[in-house]
């Protein structure tokens, strides 16, 4: 591993001049040529120490660390090719924004790669890719990452698609790192598949937790949270659509708990209050006309009142029957497919409570 970039090695000036002439032939535009040279880092070399700064400034990028001392940090040579003059030279560790015009010079830059230095006159663009190497550039420049979006290492493709793909992959790994922080126990597993597995499990457990908590809240506060139960029901149905493994039984229980609660409460006062609440919900949810659920005498009054009245009147005779009626009316606001299941469950539950 010999450094030939800015070093006093005999190969360096020769290569530089040959490449220079090569590119002067390629690019008649002087500005372009200079920009190109700046991108290559050729201006680091002692021939144009003053120009190098200017060109780097023009690129909107600070010069690489090798510029100041002329060590040619980014010009480490890896071994030597067939001839002394054709010593393989590493591409400068060029930094390119995917959307930047820098792409262009970088694409050309491959022309100055090893073999072209020897036979610069016949340098073809496609040849550059052929001799691209997979070895990642060890020259780390972490301090430069603030303005760099994509770093093209030696041998990495430089066309826009590859750059975009690299950006995409970088973003994905960034997200993955973030998720790793978010999901406990995710830092232990390695590999994308394991991490995704862990994330999926975590999301599922969180969903279950949310469901469980809302269920309990709904159970403990039937009057206020009837709408929440309704929401949950909607969510459950959606869950069913995508994940049939989930059972609907817990939800039914959540649905039923309030009524069990009310049935078990001793006094008439307690009985009446939730019933009124349910009635209000009926007023909102029940699409059926009031006359259907209310006795003829109470037909003129709002549904909530009639429901409460019917519950009250029936309670003396048979509480279970009254609640069954009430639940029938309540659930009629829901999807028809759930109605039989719910009322059946309700009946069973009520009997148990009784």
């Amino acid at each position: 591993m010999a450094h030939c970039g800015g070093g006093p090695g005999p190969a360096a000036p020769r290569e530089a001049s040959s490449v220079e002439s090569h590119f002067q032939g390629l690019l008649d535009d002087d500005d372009k040529y200079r920009a190109l040279c700046g991108a290559f880092g050729y201006l680091q070399q002692q021939e144009w120490p003053d120009l190098s700064g200017a060109c780097y400034a023009a690129f909107g990028a600070p010069p690489p660390p090798g510029t100041s001392n002329g060590a040619g940090n980014s010009f480490s040579c890896s071994g030597s090719a067939s001839s002394g003059g054709g010593s393989t030279k590493r591409k400068p560790d060029a930094y390119v924004d995917a959307k930047d015009d820098c792409k262009r010079p970088r694409g050309k830059q491959q022309l100055c790669d090893p073999d072209e230095a020897g036979a610069a006159a016949k340098g073809r663009p496609e040849k550059a890719k052929a001799c691209a190497r997979k070895k990642p550039e060890p020259a780390a420049a972490g301090q430069k990452t603030d303005y760099i979006h994509v770093r093209a290492r030696r041998g990495q493709a430089t066309d826009s698609h590859s750059l975009a793909e690299r950006v995409r992959r970088e973003r994905i790994s960034e997200r993955m790192r973030y998720l790793q922080e978010l999901v406990p126990g995710c830092d232990k597993v390695t590999g994308k598949a394991g991490m995704l597995d862990e994330i999926i499990n975590y999301v599922q457990s969180l969903q279950k937790q949310v469901e469980f908590l809302s269920m309990k809240i709904a159970a403990s506060n039937p009057v206020v949270n009837f709408n929440i139960v309704d929401d949950l029901f909607g969510g459950r149905r959606m869950n069913q659509a995508c994940g049939p493994s989930m059972t609907t039984l817990p939800m039914h229980q959540g649905q039923l708990d309030p009524s069990c609660l009310q049935m078990s409460s001793a006094t008439m006062q307690q009985m009446q209050q939730p019933a009124a609440g349910f009635g209000q919900d009926m007023l909102v949810n029940n699409p059926y006309p009031a006359a259907q659920s209310a006795p003829p005498s109470a037909a003129a009054t709002p549904v909530s009142m009639s429901a409460a009245a019917s519950v009250e009147s029936c309670l003396d005779v048979n509480g279970a029957a009254a609640w069954d009626i009430a639940s029938q009316h309540l659930f009629s606001g829901f999807d028809a497919q759930f109605q039989p299941v719910q009322s059946d469950c309700l009946l069973d539950n009520l009997k148990m409570e009784m």
Binding site: A193, Q207, S220
Partner: protein, 88 residues
Amino acid sequence: MSSRRSSRGAISDEEVNELMSKLQSLLPNSRRRGSSQASTTKLLKETCSYIKSLHREVDDLSDRLSDLMSTMDHNSAEAEIIRGILRS
């Protein structure tokens, strides 16, 4: 780069894709968007925000539940029943 990826195996890639679609089905937005395969970046981003929202929801619900429990303690009849439900 591509050779490195392929050397890791096609099985892993398939596995990852499968997991990705599974993850997508867990997200609430996936239903709205239908079956169209979203980009991985977007999917991961949505997963991040979804996990955060779930965290918030859990916290919120826990708070509410504890509030309810604290206010319920007075009327013993209901509180007793609720406690029974919660214990089950």
